[in-house]
Subunit: 159 residues, 2 copies
């Protein structure tokens, strides 16, 4: 199974992984959420090669996660911005940040988040949309849809 195959799986997790679940797409997203817009700055702050950066930006643009906008005309220069679809990836990056803060960093968090709404420094958390309680893995029971269940059963049968 290749990356392309992940994109055609029934599972929305696999599909998301196919779109943005690689190191460099995630690093570009980190930068976009930190306000980086220009090619040379992505290059500098992610440490990617220019070739790979071009490739990933093109992929993210094709998938609708980012858009290019001109900021100079002679010569023509573009900057990159998140689309609405791209901004919706914020919880993914925040979840990676919280995990890193908890398990991989000693001391103060490298990126502090303030909630504009209430004005406080916040540690965003996953909560239940129904009761508002914070949720973790052990609080959740997953149930697969029939098409997803069937897809998995057919994998078993084909072995």
């Amino acid at each position: 199974m290749s990356r392309a195959d992940l994109a055609s799986q029934t599972c929305s997790i696999a599909r998301s992984i196919a779109q943005v679940g690689d190191e460099w797409s995630l690093m570009i997203l980190r930068e976009l959420f930190l306000g980086t817009r220009r090619f040379d700055d992505f290059l500098l702050y992610t440490g990617m090669s220019s070739h790979l950066l071009s490739k990933r930006l093109r992929k993210l643009e094709t998938r609708g996660v980012i858009k290019r906008e001109p900021y100079a005309y002679r010569p023509m220069r573009h900057e990159y911005r998140l689309t609405g679809m791209g901004r919706d990836l914020w919880p993914v990056i925040v979840a990676l940040k919280q995990w890193g803060d908890r398990w991989l960093v000693d001391g103060a968090t490298p990126v502090q988040i303030r909630h504009k709404g209430c004005g406080h420094v916040t540690i965003p958390e996953m909560t239940c949309s129904q009761c508002g309680e914070a949720m973790s893995a052990t609080d959740a029971r997953a149930r697969l849809s029939e098409p997803f269940e069937n897809e998995r059963t057919s994998l078993v049968r084909s072995t």
Copy 2:
């Protein structure tokens, strides 16, 4: 900059990406959260090659995300389970799921989550730890720590 370099960045997002931010580690995590424990089942449901699966399982074990436990002795067989550190990655997988459900899937979600606490089907969301309101990218203001800011400035100076 390579994967190894990401792990030594000040930023906790980059560090998390270095640990689990690749397609196949994320697919293995999906399976672990769906209850998969055995090598052959990971192989089947992720579609990875056996070589790559061994490599990623070893990496996740070395980093403390999963642990191996014997389930048969003649011959010796192991199954794989999330550690506490690994279970803490649940919000990352859930965030990928929500994004996929919203942007990449038509119709019903392939994986429905029920909150054991309140008993309802839920769509977990990122909320502010201070005021409890749901948060999105536009509600957040990021502030870099001094060490992280200095690291970025030194990259600018060294060009």
